[in-house]
Symmetry: D2
Subunit: 345 residues, 4 copies
C-alpha cells in the first residue's frame, strides 16, 4: 500500500509499505477513505517529537471502512464506516475509567507517533471497540474527519476545561485551526462575547465568519486594554490559549478576570513565567489537557443534529496521491490561508 | 482603648486610640474577647504590603461581643457573641453573589489592612450581617478564633480547590500553620494518604500528630522520588502549596500526578517558572485563591459536632497587654515552636 | 394610587390605594413602568393560595424607576431604572448564602402574596439591594419584564436542574408560557432535540416557532412511543414537567431515559404516583424547585448580548387602566392565544 | 463442582454441576475462595425476580483466584487473586463510557441472575478486564467480599447520590446491611450528624456501634419530630431510603430539608405516593440508582488505607458445605442478628 512516511527531521516521502495486519484480538484494520494533516504532524517533521522515530507512517485522523477485526472486537464488523479517534483507549485502565483516555496505559496518542498512522491506504487500530466510532446516518464524511482530533481538542481542552457558560466572556488567543475549533464549540454554551486574538488578519477574518463577536490583532492593538474596556475592567471569564508559546500564555494571565479560568490548548516547547505574585489572590484556575476524545459521542450527536458546522474548517481538498502537495499547502497556511485540508482515497 | 498599631516597616507599638464608632448603617462595633496573629501581620511589618498604611491597627481574626449595631443590621444585637471573619462581605455585589467574598467590591480583606483591625479592645466591622457569625452553643472560643482565617484558608484554597477525595493521595508542601490547617481539614474527605513536606523537623512532628500519614524533609529527602515510590510512579492527586516561594511551587509541579491538581495557598512575592513544556499534556489544574470564608458556616458545624480539632493549632496564650511578646513568640516560630497564639482580653 | 386588589376567591378590582412608604432601611419604593400577569395570579384568584389574603395588591413582576430608597440601600438611587425580581432575597440568611433565594427566611415569594405587589402605580421592594437589578443599556424594557419570573423559572427549575447538555434530547411536557420559557433557555446548551408536548395545537405552533425540533399532541399522539422511536428506545435525557398535574408528572416517568432527569417546574395541587417499582434501578433524578432568580445576572447578560429572544413571549399589550381586560385575555389563553401580556403605565 | 441452585420460588439446593468454561474471548473462569448472600438472593427465592429462571446458580459477590482467561483478557492471569464485582461491565458501550455500568448493554447485574453466579466452586466472569479487581496487598479477603456489592451500593446509591458533605445532617431510613453500608461510607465525608431509623433495636445497636450519632425506632418514636428538633425545624440535608417499601419512602419526604436530597437505595416492588403538592417548591432532588460499582477502585484504596472497617459487617461464617445453613441464618436476621455471612471454600 501507499503511505506517507517520516524519515527524520525535515524528511518525508510517499512510500510503498506492506498492508498492516491484526496484532492483538482487540485490533481492527481500517481502509482509509479520508484523512487530514495536523499541526502535530508538522511538529514531528521539524524534529520536535523525539518519541516519533524515523520510518513511522504519520497521521492520527480520518474516516474509513473496517476491513478486518480481531476476535475480541464486539462492536464493529467488516464494512462498517467508522471515525478514527486520534486517541487510542483500552477502556479498562484506571485512566480510561476516569475518561482520561489520553493517558491510557496502553494507548493515548500513539497513532502516527509510536505506531503507524492514518496517512496510508490502511491502518491498524488498537483497542478498536473504544477507539473507533460508527459514522451516523446522513453525516458528511469530510466534516466528520474534523472530529478525529481538532474539534474534540478545542472543545475539551478549551471550552469544557474553560467552563464556558451562558452570558460569559470568552477570549481565545490564537485563531489557527484549533483556536477556531474552540470558537465553534464555545457557541454550544451561548457566551455573551467571544473575543479572538491573532497576529494574522486572514485568520481573524475566519474568526469573524465563525462567530467571534470581537477580534483583535495583537501585533497592533492594545489587547489587554480592549478586553478590559469590554468587561468593565474585569477581564474575560474564560481565556483559551491556542498557540503554545510563552508570550501568549503570559498574555492570557493579563486577560483573565478574577474567578476566571485559563484553559491551555497549545502544545508548549518551553516553560513560561507564571505571575503568582499577582495571581495568587485572583481565585483563578489554569488547566492543561491532552485531548481525551471522551466527548466524541457528544460531538457526533451535535454534528448529526446540524448544530456544529465542522465542515467550515475545511479549506482545501486533495487526493491521497497529492499528499505531499497537501503538506505544502498546510505548512504554508499564512500564504495559502489553509485551515484544514481533506485528503481522499 | 488599647490597640496594636503599625507605624511603618519594622515598627509597631501598643497605643492608646479612640474607640471606633459606627460609620455605616450596616456596621457593628465588637468588643474583642480573643484574637491572634497571622503570618500576614508579619508580612505587613516587613513592609511587604504597601496597601497597608502606617497608623493602621492590625489584626483580622478574633471572637468578641457585639457592642453596638447600625440600624440596618438585622442578624445581630448587642450582647451577641460573634466570630469575626477575616473577609468582609457585602453579600450583594456580583462577587459576593458567587460566594467569592474575597473580591467583594466594598469588602474583601480590609480588616487590619485598609481599615483598623481586631488587635484592639474594640473593632468596627463593616457589612456586619454577612461578616460576623454567631458563636454556636458549647463551642470553645479559643478554637473558634482559628475559624477567622487559618482554617477556612487551608480548607478553601487547599482542600476544596484541590478536590481532596476518599482514597486519594494528598501532598502538602509546607507544614506551617496554614499547611497544618489544610492537613486537619483534608481529613474531612478521608484521603488514603496525606504527605507533609517541610524543612523543619519540629513542624513535621506536629504534622504526624495532626494526622499526616507520611512526612518528608526536603532539605534531606528525595521528596519527588519518595512520592513517586508511594504512588506507583504517578504522583499525588492533590498537591497543596502552603509556602509561597518559587522553589516550593516548582516542587509541586514535580509532585502532581497526571489528572491532578496543584492548589496554591501560599502568598507569593515573585513569579515562578511554569513547566508547560512538560505539563501541557498532563491534564492538570493549578488553582489560586484568596480565602473567601464562604465555608465558615460549614466549618462551624464541623467544629460544633467535634469533627475538627481546631484548638490543636494553638500553642501559646497571652493577655492583650502581652501582645508585643506574643508577636515576638509568633515571629520566631522555629525557635519557639509556635503555631498559633491566642491573645485574650 | 391605582392598584389591582384581590378580594377573595373570584374577586378582584382596580382600586384606589395609598402609596406605599419605606418600612425598613433596606427597602426601596419603585414607580412601576411595566408589569405583567402570571399563572400564579390566576391561582390566587381561584382561591388556591390560602396564604394570600383578601386586600392584597397582586403582581410580582415588572420594571420601574426607583422613587425612594432606605438609608441602608447601597446599590440604587432614585431615578435608577430597575428590574424587579419575583423573589425577595435578604442576601445574608443561610438559604441566600447558598443561592436558594426562594427560601430566604425574610423573603422568598412574598410580592403580591404576603405583601402588596407590582400591579399598582408604586410598590415597596424589601431587601432592595438583592432583589432589584439595574436595567442594562440598550435592553428593551418589555422583554425585560419576562426576566422577573417566567424566564428564570423555566431556566432554573427546568433547564439547569435538568442539566440540558450539548447533543442531548430534551422533552418538555407543557407548552404554556413557562414550558416555552424552558424551550427558549434550553437552547443556551445546544441540545440535539427539543420535543414539546401539549394538548393545544396553538401552543405547539408557538413551540415550533420558538425552536422545538419535534412537537406532539398528547391528546392524539402516542407520545411515549414517539419519544422512544426518536431515541433508539432509551427516552429523553432531560424531561421537564411544566404543567403541574399528576397525569403529566406520570407521563414524564415514561419519557425519561436511564440516567436521565425529570425536572419539575409545574405547581402541583395534588400528590402523584411515583413508579419506584420500575424507576428504583433506572439511575434517574427528580428535581423540584421554586425559582430562586439567582441566575438573573446571567440572563441579563444573555439578553443584553441578543442571545435570548425574551420578547417573543409577549402576545398582548395593555395600559394599566385596562388591567381587568388584560386579566380576561390572559385567563382565556386557549381562545386568545395569549402567552404573556404587557401592562404599561 | 458444587453449586447453590435456584429451582423456582421457595426452592433451592446444593447440586453437582459441570464446571463453567470460557464462552467469549473476554471471559475469565474464577475459582471461588469466599462468597456471601445478598438480600437480592432472598428476593429471587421469594419469586420476586421473574428474570431469574429456575436452574440458575445464585450469587453475585465474592473473592477468588483466576483459573483461566480468554485470549482478549489483558489485565489478569491465572493465579491472580481477584474481587468479583456484582456488576459486569463491557467498558465500551455508551452507558459504560459514562460510568453507568449497571446499564451496560451486555452486562449489568447478570451474575446469579441471567447467568450462573458465584455461589459455586467456579464461576465464569464475562468482561473480565472491567468486572474483576486485583486484590491489593495486605487486604483482608473477608472484608473484601463486602466490596462486591453492599459497600458500593450504600456508597454510590446513598452517600454519593445523596451528596453527603462535611457538617451536614444525614438521615438513613433502614439499618439493615445496606443502610449500615451507607452509614460506614457516609463517614468518608464527615457529616455533623448521622441519624439511623429502624424498627429493630438490635440493628439500631449495630448502628450506634458503626458511628450513628442518633438512632430512632420508628415503631415507637416520633421520628419526624425528632429530626426536626435536631435541625432547628429544617430536616435532614441527605435522606437515604434503605428499605424499599412505600411507607419508608414516604417517611423520607417528611424528613428532607428544603434544598436536600432523598437518595433511594431500596429495591421497591410497589409505587409510592410523591407529595408534589408540598415538595414542588422545596428545591429537593430524589435519586434512584442500581449500583454501578464504578467506585470500586476508590473503595479498594480506602480499604487498603484502613479507612473503612468493611469487616464490621460480617457477623457469621460458614463453609461452602454449610451454605444452606448460611441461608437459614441470613434469612432470619431479626432472630440471628445476622448482617452479612461469609461462606468459605
Amino acid at each position: 500500500m501507499k503511505a506517507l512516511v517520516y524519515h527524520g527531521p525535515g524528511q518525508k516521502s510517499l512510500d510503498e509499505r506492506p498492508r498492516p495486519s491484526l496484532a492483538a484480538p482487540t485490533d481492527a484494520i481500517v481502509r482509509m477513505l479520508k484523512t487530514t494533516i495536523c499541526g502535530t504532524d508538522l511538529h514531528i517533521l521539524k524534529g520536535d517529537v523525539p518519541t516519533c522515530e524515523p520510518g513511522r507512517i504519520l497521521g492520527h485522523e480520518g474516516v474509513g471502512i473496517v476491513e478486518e477485526t480481531g476476535p475480541a472486537v464486539a462492536t464493529f464488523r467488516p464494512g462498517d464506516r467508522v471515525l478514527i479517534s486520534c486517541i487510542s483507549a483500552c477502556g479498562r485502565c484506571a485512566y480510561c475509567r476516569r475518561g482520561m483516555y489520553s493517558h491510557c496505559t496502553t494507548g493515548g496518542w500513539i497513532l502516527g507517533h509510536r505506531i503507524d498512522g492514518t496517512q496510508a491506504d490502511f491502518v491498524r487500530i488498537p483497542h478498536a471497540d473504544t477507539s473507533l466510532y460508527r459514522v451516523p446516518e446522513g453525516v458528511d464524511e469530510e466534516a466528520l474527519v474534523m472530529l478525529s482530533d481538532i474539534l474534540p481538542t478545542g472543545f475539551e481542552c478549551g471550552v469544557l476545561n474553560g467552563k464556558v457558560a451562558p452570558g460569559s466572556v470568552v477570549a481565545i488567543v490564537g485563531a489557527g485551526p484549533v483556536g477556531l475549533a474552540a470558537l465553534l464549540t464555545a457557541q454550544f454554551y451561548t457566551p455573551a462575547a467571544i473575543i479572538m486574538i491573532d497576529l494574522d488578519e486572514g485568520r481573524l477574518d475566519f474568526a469573524r465568519r465563525f462567530g467571534a463577536t470581537h477580534t483583535f490583532n495583537n501585533a497592533r492593538d492594545d489587547v489587554v486594554g480592549a478586553v478590559r474596556a469590554l468587561t468593565e475592567g474585569r477581564g474575560a471569564d474564560t481565556v483559551i490559549e491556542a498557540v503554545g508559546v510563552p508570550a501568549t500564555f503570559e498574555l492570557c494571565q493579563d486577560l483573565v478576570a478574577p474567578g476566571g479560568i485559563i484553559a491551555n490548548v497549545g502544545v508548549h516547547g518551553h516553560k513560561a513565567d507564571l505571575h503568582l505574585e499577582r495571581l495568587w489572590s485572583h481565585n483563578i484556575a489554569i488547566t492543561t489537557r491532552l485531548v481525551d476524545t471522551e466527548t466524541t459521542p457528544m460531538l457526533l450527536k451535535t454534528l448529526a443534529a446540524k448544530k456544529l458546522d465542522a465542515a467550515a474548517l475545511i479549506t482545501h481538498r486533495f487526493t491521497f496521491d497529492q499528499i505531499l502537495e497537501a503538506y505544502e499547502t498546510f505548512a504554508n497556511a499564512s500564504r495559502t490561508r489553509a485551515l484544514k485540508v481533506i485528503i481522499s482515497h
